[in-house]
């Protein structure tokens, strides 16, 4: 069996894994990043909308190669059809670019490569190597061949599937009400506002929402996420999406160029993201914003913090839980409160009626909010429907 030795093995070459690999390699770590698929950033499992604010923090300059469309704002559509348009000046925190994930993810991986990280494609992790009761790397299959990668630290960046953390004994199990199951079509020959991301609320997508994220003049990602506890029959997600498309005259003549499916956690983050010789980053740590379903920004920022802490650990030779804890503290400091607040908001909103949602969207559109984000919208809702936010009003 072929064996490899390194300081850090990163499982998964999504945004979190790549940014972690980059910062760890820049800090002097010998890094191997493995990816089970045959292409980084593909198959797509994402609506591809990102905000702009955090790109600076990971030193990423917007590049037309991976930007599919630059947004001017967002449109929130109530179940009754009321359209509330938010310009970028108002919604800049939540919308920004619709990207090409297959190019965006490759750019992040390329930055890791330039920093010195090695990338192994078509390589799945299958279990952890344990030595004297401690994690000492991963076993895997690379191009059909059994391999071992011995490492001082394993980075679990394996996304929604979140297997590596589970092998280590970290609980990443989700409740049915904390899972959104999603289906998306890349549609063309449709009528859209090409610089506005559209969010359609209500019973078109129970517990979640339906999105239209433009990818050019007449093309967009049209998808939806439905909370698993609302699913009655297998294949419901596809039925909901097809029904909505048939009902919307802007879309009904459209054709599908690509079908994408997946699931996303809409839960609080996991309780621990470090143990001896192991770090969990990104979706694997359940750090999706439960209101928006967005997670790339959190994954990338966690990747940076993880890479920087790993670099420190290399210099002291200490990859213990205590040493890695700095990473856990740092990301929680940055956005754990927001994740909890938005999860609690989702818990409340997932079951409100179309009528209440209509009233809420109307109230928001009349409120003249200057800077729209989940937080400021919740503040408006607090005035009109205090009972909806009563349980977490101290967080608003």
């Amino acid at each position: 069996m072929r064996t490899y030795e390194c300081d850090v093995v990163v499982v998964g070459a999504g945004p979190g894994g790549s940014v972690c690999a980059q910062y760890a390699a820049e800090g002097g770590c010998d890094v191997i990043m493995i990816e089970k698929r045959q292409e980084i950033g593909s198959p797509l499992r994402c609506g591809e909308g990102i905000s702009k604010a955090w790109l600076d923090e990971i030193g990423l300059t917007p590049d037309p190669r991976w930007i599919s469309a630059d947004m001017d704002g967002a449109i929130i559509v109530s179940p009754g059809g009321h359209r509330f348009k938010l310009d970028e000046s108002m919604a800049g925190n939540e919308v920004g670019y619709v990207v090409e994930r297959h190019l965006f993810d490759k750019e992040l991986a390329a930055r890791a490569a330039r920093a010195g990280a090695k990338i192994m494609m078509k390589t799945s992790a299958t279990s952890l190597i344990m030595k004297g009761g401690e994690i000492a790397g991963i076993k895997g299959i690379s191009f059909g061949e059994d391999i071992e990668i011995r490492a001082k630290c394993v980075v679990a960046a394996d996304g929604y599937e979140s297997q590596v953390a589970r092998w280590a004994g970290i609980e990443t199990k989700l409740k049915p009400s904390d899972i959104d199951t999603c289906l998306q079509y890349r549609m063309t020959n449709i009528e859209i506002e090409p610089t506005y991301c559209e969010f359609i609320l209500g019973s078109a997508a129970p517990g979640g929402y339906l999105w239209i994220f433009p990818k050019g003049r007449d093309t967009a990602n049209v998808g939806l996420g439905i909370i698993l506890s609302e699913i009655q029959k297998p294949g419901d997600v596809k039925r909901y999406l097809d029904e909505y498309i048939a009902s919307d005259p802007r879309l009904s003549k459209g054709q599908v160029l690509e079908v994408m499916s997946g699931a996303v956690s809409v839960s609080p983050p996991i309780d621990k993201t470090v143990m001896n010789n192991l770090i969990v980053v990104g979706d694997a740590a359940r750090v999706i914003d439960a209101m928006t379903g967005g997670g790339i920004c959190h994954a990338c920022r966690m990747g940076k913090y993880a890479g920087e802490v790993l670099s420190k650990c290399l210099s002291t030779g200490d990859f213990s839980k205590e040493a890695l804890m700095e990473y856990d503290v740092r990301w929680r400091d940055q956005f754990e409160d927001k994740l909890y607040r938005n999860w609690m908001a989702k818990e409340k909103f997932r079951s409100v009626s179309d009528k209440v949602l209509d009233d809420i969207v109307l109230a928001i559109s009349e409120a003249n909010v200057e800077n729209v984000n989940v937080y400021s919208l919740l503040k408006v809702i607090k005035d009109k429907y205090p009972e909806l936010v009563a349980e977490f009003e101290d967080m608003i």
Binding site: S124, P234, S261, G262
Partner: protein
């Protein structure tokens, strides 16, 4: 559990949703192991309805 490979998009929705860690996606091959309790969650979570339960009879 029965997987309809013609429908499966190998997206991993069932893998991350399984409460018993009974499903594993090796590149594009979905594997069910002995920890499966036939709870049926994967049947519902699959966005394209590719998983069904064997007949109990």
């Amino acid at each position: 559990m029965i997987l309809d490979v013609d429908k499966c998009m190998h997206c991993g929705a069932c893998v991350g949703s399984c409460p018993f860690n009974a499903i594993f996606l090796r590149e594009i091959i979905l594997e069910f192991n002995d920890s499966c309790t036939r709870c049926g969650r994967c049947v519902k979570v699959c966005p394209v309805g590719a998983i069904t339960m064997e007949d109990d009879s």
